[in-house]
Symmetry: C2
Amino acid sequence: MNRDRSKQRLKLKGLKKKANPNDLISLNYLKLQPTSSIHPDPAPVIHRRSSTDCIHRQSSTAAAHPRRYAQPLLESCFKNKALLSFMDAVKNLDAVDATTSFQVKSFFDSAPLLKDAESISRKLTQFIHQNASLTGSKGPRRVVCVTSGGTTVPLEQRCVRYIDNFSSGHRGATSTEYFLKSGYSVIFLYRRGTCQPYCRSLPDDPLLECFNLTSDSSIQVLESHAEAVKSAISGHHDVVSGGYLLKLPFTTIFEYLQILRLIATPMKILGPNAMFYLAAAVSDFYVPWESMAVHKIQSASGPLDMRLAQVPKMLLVLRKEWAPTAFCVSFKLETDKEILLEKADTALKKYKMHAVVANELSTRKEVVILVTESGKVSVYRENDLSVVESPLIKLLVEKHSTYIMDPNA
Amino acid sequence: MNRDRSKQRLKLKGLKKKANPNDLISLNYLKLQPTSSIHPDPAPVIHRRSSTDCIHRQSSTAAAHPRRYAQPLLESCFKNKALLSFMDAVKNLDAVDATTSFQVKSFFDSAPLLKDAESISRKLTQFIHQNASLTGSKGPRRVVCVTSGGTTVPLEQRCVRYIDNFSSGHRGATSTEYFLKSGYSVIFLYRRGTCQPYCRSLPDDPLLECFNLTSDSSIQVLESHAEAVKSAISGHHDVVSGGYLLKLPFTTIFEYLQILRLIATPMKILGPNAMFYLAAAVSDFYVPWESMAVHKIQSASGPLDMRLAQVPKMLLVLRKEWAPTAFCVSFKLETDKEILLEKADTALKKYKMHAVVANELSTRKEVVILVTESGKVSVYRENDLSVVESPLIKLLVEKHSTYIMDPNA
């Protein structure tokens, strides 16, 4: 980190003879966004543009008086820990790690406190220690953290509206089943209300659709759903009571990233036997908590303008700091297949993933492409009745085995 | 409608000697928003601002050359049916109805086609006709359309991200139970995955949490949940198979409003015996389908700017055009109690509702305020074990009875 910061200063020096924070601000001023931290009077990131004013008022004022605004920016950055705009200013200076670390710190500092953090940590430590002590024919038991479903981004502190990411959670739930079948223990970090392991053959509302009452008022499962209901209950019950599956729910991006960090810490003791399988659809953009409107945004008149900040790219932080010895698999979902593989390649290199699963929205149930340093492999489901997660997890387990043999290869 | 348009022209004449569409545009130019319809080259409403440019480019260009942009605007409005910006221009001209009608037309014209519209219509007609023929001791059977849960606003056509409205659907589901208990038949228009009638005492994941398998592999309900499970299954089954409850799911704002319109049409035959109880959390802002990014928005660099258009206020259209004889109840949810009653009053007058249920996010389960023309009544739940919907529905049924006796009072 220190090395990266010097690098950043060096780069600056190449551009300006004397580099100090003020120079940095003025140099990059035009790249700054007119958010609350620029203006001395904080304004929410979500705001309504005046109907008689086509020009962003803050930006035009700021553009006319860069110096007047630069100093308050610098001060408010450090006073309020609202470093995001500052980060915008330095992000092109080839100092990815310093920038990311700053952004990550800022994100966690401003995030609302995670409820039940202690109880979650206790469950995690117990689960991981218990599984770390198990050894099978193939060596120590492996543990995978499977993330599943989409994260939400609240738009108000007393949240009425939020941005959500489409994800049924089928990929994560199904993959969990195949990991368990392959002898892994699973920490299932899932979005509340999304698909659960062993439940994918059930209808949307299993209780109301699978059961009825007999004439003597006892509950009876409908014959058509009996097998699906039985396998859901027994499959689920076996792995939970056996201590092989730990389920942790999330809703917001703030909860997700805080729990993910909590998971990574005790998983370090597993060394290369740990895997992260990051199938959750994580928000790319968010409203920093401190810039968020407290109350419901009013809809009295005119359109709504929103400025969303980028969520720091946590994959690199996970890989480098939180879980440096684990085998890490991320996902890349696109709707445009033209850019899919290029984006997957970039993720592999930029975030140092061991594998990236590339999938296109419309065909994601039939085929995925596994991108690793050694190449790209298309993985198809065997037939219409099977699922693509079956061959995918088989392939990943093999790659994980190779990695365990020689993590530095 | 024609009368309102003349009124609008008249108003314009008062301001400018000769009123024609071009005058209207130039007169209101500064009130126009720089959306795609202003610029001859359509641009998506969601866009990334250039990091080197603090000023909205389109707006500054447009402001410098109003005439150059005015004509293409007018043309594109009528060519593309993208009337929203045009509506912004005329919205302060005291022509609420003409404006709303235009916005509504534009909304429905640009909405993606509703799947299963025919099948939904068929179900509705059958349900309403069947219930219209029933008469009890209190006269013809009443039918209420209860809307429940939040609508989503897609941000991309091949949707990965969307804006959602927080709503568990408890209010709608519980109210449905009390309407049924009061002898109403219910069309339950609900968001997929939200709370269902008779299921509010169940845990989040009833199948996995309420059942286990016996040693001989038969399914068994846990004693602790037996009553809740039985009353959910039997309560639900009785009203659905009896033909008193019709459930119709939605997800997006486009689906919700299209289905609501489909419901209103056949409900007209019920006259004042029909009620609309609009408890759904409906999006206030949306991205018009034709302005929406086709593919997933890329998150490569920098913050994201979004411009969301206002969803036309459909309450007035429902009340005046879709369901002119029905008893209409809307909801007003706020997080700030200071403005709650004022907003509820406005909704009552502006949208000609018969009653508005005002509720504050943090206390919504304990108390609501029923706002009608005759005053405001605070409605409390009786005790911690009861629900506020019980006295609320009782009061609304009384008000509905009075209305049926004299709809024009």
